[in-house]
Symmetry: C2
């Protein structure tokens, strides 16, 4: 019953009209073929794939899910067909380098394909996303030999990847890892240990599965500085690249989860498995985290993808379902009721969702463009500045878009009333699926600490300037513009609030780290909403310049206006909350948190 | 793995120390036996029942759930045993009148039993809650004959009740109901039609099921003024109260839902079923809604119950799980990591939950006491004033506590990281179960309209005065108090904000109902949080007066302080949002909401 159309025009608006993206990447090596014409062609192809093939397997993924038997994991036939169709369409080679058989398309196009994939089948998107992550990691840190052996297979969609970090006793705190690696002559190592929560750890979508495994070498330093990274294939690879014998890695069980049932979450046992070192000994964590920006933005896009499909279905229901009357009298006098969309509170939920989705998409594309600039611009200064911006925006995109994904799927379910709670309507699956996104790849609380505790103070606030400088320049340029004034006035106030909070956190936090911890989540929300405000300013500037050409731009202006009237003011609340500091939070003794379960006479 | 202890001391604090509840109900007819000693005894009994029996059947309810076969619904054996144990403990007779065999305990004690029931097994609590609703409805509107036949059986736990409102084409908009009732001599009617989403519509927990059914008599006026209410038993009842033949009501199927799998949600087909009129013809809706205050508060308590058990488990995990280090250096140097609770952001989530739970519980008890006063006080003016207050607070309790239930179960799952997403840990069940509460018994958007569109303007704001007058008196009395000043200053500001918003809504709304609709949800949030602030003032006054007696009161003060520093300021944001009015929301044409799915060249 779920419906979905990929929001192609929205990407066209952002990439071409707002970001002037073709001009921005002009001359970048490897992007020669990424003309808008090609992009439209590819986007059409992926859209059809998502709308027609991926979406129709999404419910099977939920209802049948991944099945475990005797160490093997099988997926529903419709998901297997959808994966094959994706490989045939080139989805798995979109992002890769040409020398390994990739299309090497600009990162904003990956934003599009990630969003669309996760809208239509988030579980399936996870397999693809992890493979992309493994690709980047090996490409950045692996030997030439490893690259040549593995990367082309990833792009061809024959082999998939995983990231094996978590163990039963450690998730966030990877310093506690116990999995062991011992040298075994030449370039080989023997890996022993158990990993949990390994997404895509075992399945029948690919011929081989390539695990990237964090482990400790003998006599490694304690903590995070003693962790190394290894490539451990499910099947060993012969010199001629044919598959050899089964390696010592086995799936022991899969988890029963709240959602993403089509994504197998495995307990993996490594027993004398053969592994290959990626990068230098003891530097595994930084190798793994070097691709974390990509990965975290991808998780943000899981939130965006679920937001968009939830929104489309909430909107469709609001237009179709006849219930109640317009507060000013019947809109639909021939029917026994008016559609839900006549109700201001329903429109409020829809507009809020739309305003957040548009801004989240714009923020992702803007940051994705900065990724490409940081990677490909000939000017070292531009590369560094853009890298700073990416570092700064990554935790924001990850947290903000996943939190809003949860909220939007909630609101769109709510529009459905009781029908939203019934499996048949598909809305509740979105709420369950998206719930993992605020948790994995660094829980959102960790993202907030990353922003407030690391990115903010880094190099005396250098990263911050990459955001504040262009924003202030934009304000200066446009503040007298008769169209933009309406938005710039509240925005400037919100921006000043953010600057004030930043100063407060920086000053207090330098002497008391609890201040950083206590304010971090509110700070990320405040910063995130202000960034979305800037995204809206960029979009509105274009929309006003074309508003007489097409109603499309008028609708953008209304959506943007909603943002400034009803979403941006939350930053004020966040600022007040932060200003209360850490004192109260830290003053509660641990036992003081308890709900007391005995009457006072019997204590 | 889930743990739970009923928060008895928290009720003692609220009922005895803050509300002085024994004094307040002194002399009320029927409450003679409700001494604190008896209450403690009963509360101990229900607590043991919940902690030991109900909780252990909660997972079966989720995993096995209600099973449908050939028109019958069966529940897991452990749930059946838990229901029997509840009946034996007197849970089903707690609220009922003595003349029908009830204990006739004051309503705040029902708040306790509702909370504890829904913490330990929300699905099972639903069966009990519906029976309570049916009891009140028949008691208020049924003939003596119906009362004497049915009410004692409800209280004895032999027969259970349902409310049959929804049909496939109408949920919120009950004016559209099509089920028919035709007179059939004497006091009987023949009922024909189909109802959907009927909780507890069929099951094997009770000997008989008594359906309260909304239907239309021949030639009934159109819309809500033509709906009558009928009692339709599953088994007809003989004159000697033994069960007679099966009535013409049949369960056709049950829904697959996101959660509360142990609560059977039925499609019921009425085919020439025998029914008995409750109340007057065409006045069924007001009869059904006369018990809506009770029902809606009970749904709020579903939110509160899930909040509390989620909180207890989030807290336990935060204390047990070793992960990462205190930002100021190891707290637990002998272990390889510190417990999660050292982290300010984890403490923030816990304190926020606790501050909301304490205030929500207090708000429920305060309103429950007003229910008893409105019902039993000899002074008509006091009865009316308290009834006004109950009318005003009902939509707030329903919405606020269910929304916060969703949020708190979310945050407590989040503390668990990946483990929260795994079924085994039980946290994700809370999130799924509580998700129905913002929907049923009037979706939260409808509650907001009830508050802003009906309760607020009613009798020139008479209901509002029942809240504002005591609050202003409290401020006057305590504003110079050296302990209370810290809280009264921000509270007074928030209260003024609420008064201003109220005036804004009343003025704008009188000429343009869209203004009410557009602001309603924000207004309910603003009003709700201000009410919670008042609840905290009442609790803090007591806590300060006893702060040297026991650490318990010190912990209350810290929790209260968190509320004023970090929760109350949200009202500011809500006020700004409301002040933007309905113009932008209503200016978007319906087609402007669409995500555009074609490139501009191909539009």
């Amino acid at each position: 019953m779920v419906q979905y159309k990929s929001p192609k025009r929205e990407y066209e608006f952002i990439l071409r009209e707002v970001l002037d993206f073709e001009e921005q990447i002009k001359g970048y090596e490897g992007f020669e073929e990424a003309t808008w014409e090609t992009i439209e062609m590819i986007a059409d192809q992926f859209s059809t794939l998502s709308e027609e093939v991926w979406l129709s397997s999404n419910r099977d993924g939920d209802v049948i899910g991944a099945k475990f038997e005797n160490g093997n994991v099988s997926l529903p036939p419709s998901m297997k067909r959808a994966a094959e169709a994706a490989i045939n369409s080139g989805l798995t080679s979109l992002f890769g380098h040409q020398k390994y058989g990739g299309m090497e398309f600009p990162t904003p196009i990956s934003v599009f394909s990630d969003e669309v994939s996760c809208s239509s089948n988030m579980s399936l998107g996870i397999y693809m996303g992890l493979t992309k992550g493994a690709y980047h990691c090996i490409n950045n840190h692996g030997s030439e030999d490893l690259k040549e052996t593995y990367l082309p297979e990833f792009l061809a969609g024959r082999w998939f990847g995983t990231m094996c970090l978590t163990e039963a006793h450690c998730g966030t705190d990877l310093g506690l890892i116990r999995t062991k690696a011992e040298p075994d002559g030449d370039d080989k190592y023997v890996i022993n240990g158990e990993k949990i929560f390994i997404s895509a750890g075992e399945h029948d979508l690919a011929e081989n599965i390539i695990h990237l495994v964090l482990a400790r070498l003998p006599n490694a330093p304690k903590g995070v500085k003693g962790i190394s990274l290894f490539l451990v294939p499910k099947f060993l690879v012969n010199d001629d690249k044919s598959l050899g014998e089964r390696n010592g890695v086995k799936c022991m069980s899969i988890e029963e989860k709240m959602g993403v049932h089509g994504s197998a979450t495995c307990v993996l046992n490594f027993e004398n498995a053969t592994g290959y070192l990626i990068g230098e000994p003891h530097k595994g964590l930084s190798a793994m985290f070097s691709m974390m920006n990509h990965e975290r933005i991808s998780v943000g896009l899981q939130g965006l993808g679920i937001s968009e499909i939830s929104y489309q279905n909430g909107l469709a229901y609001a237009k179709d379902r006849l219930q109640g009357r317009d507060l000013k009298g019947p809109k639909n006098p021939d029917e026994e009721a008016d559609p839900l969309i006549v109700h201001p509170d329903v429109r409020r939920m829809l507009l809020r969702s739309k305003a957040l989705i548009d801004a989240g998409r714009m923020l992702s594309c803007w940051t994705a463009l900065a990724i490409d600039k940081s990677d490909k611009d000939p000017d070292e200064k531009i590369r560094r500045e853009n890298n700073d911006l990416v570092e700064l925006m990554t935790p924001i995109i990850k947290s903000l878009l996943t939190d809003f994904g949860v909220e939007i799927s909630y609101d769109m379910l709510q529009i459905h009333g009781g029908h939203g709670y019934i499996k048949e309507f598909g809305m509740e699956q979105f709420s369950r699926d998206v719930r993992i996104a605020p948790i994995w790849e660094g829980a959102n609380g960790i993202q907030a600490l990353d922003l407030a505790g690391r990115k903010m103070p880094k190099n005396m606030g250098r990263l911050l300037r990459r955001f504040f400088h262009p924003v202030l320049a934009f304000i200066d340029k446009n503040k007298e513009d008769s169209n933009m004034k309406e938005f710039i006035i509240p925005f400037e106030k919100a921006l000043k609030g953010l600057q004030k909070t930043t100063l407060f956190m920086a000053q207090k936090g330098s002497s008391n780290p609890y201040e950083i911890g206590a304010g971090a989540t509110d700070y990320l929300k405040q910063f995130g909403i202000v960034s979305m405000g800037y995204m809206w300013l960029l979009m509105l500037e274009v929309a006003f310049s074309k508003k007489d050409e097409d109603d499309y731009y008028q609708h953008k202006i209304i959506t943007g206006r909603f943002f400034f009237e009803r979403i941006l003011p939350e930053t004020l609340f966040r600022a007040i909350s932060i200003s209360s500091g850490s004192k109260t939070i830290m003053s509660m003794p641990d036992e003081g948190f308890n709900s007391v379960s005995k009457f006072s006479g019997t204590l």
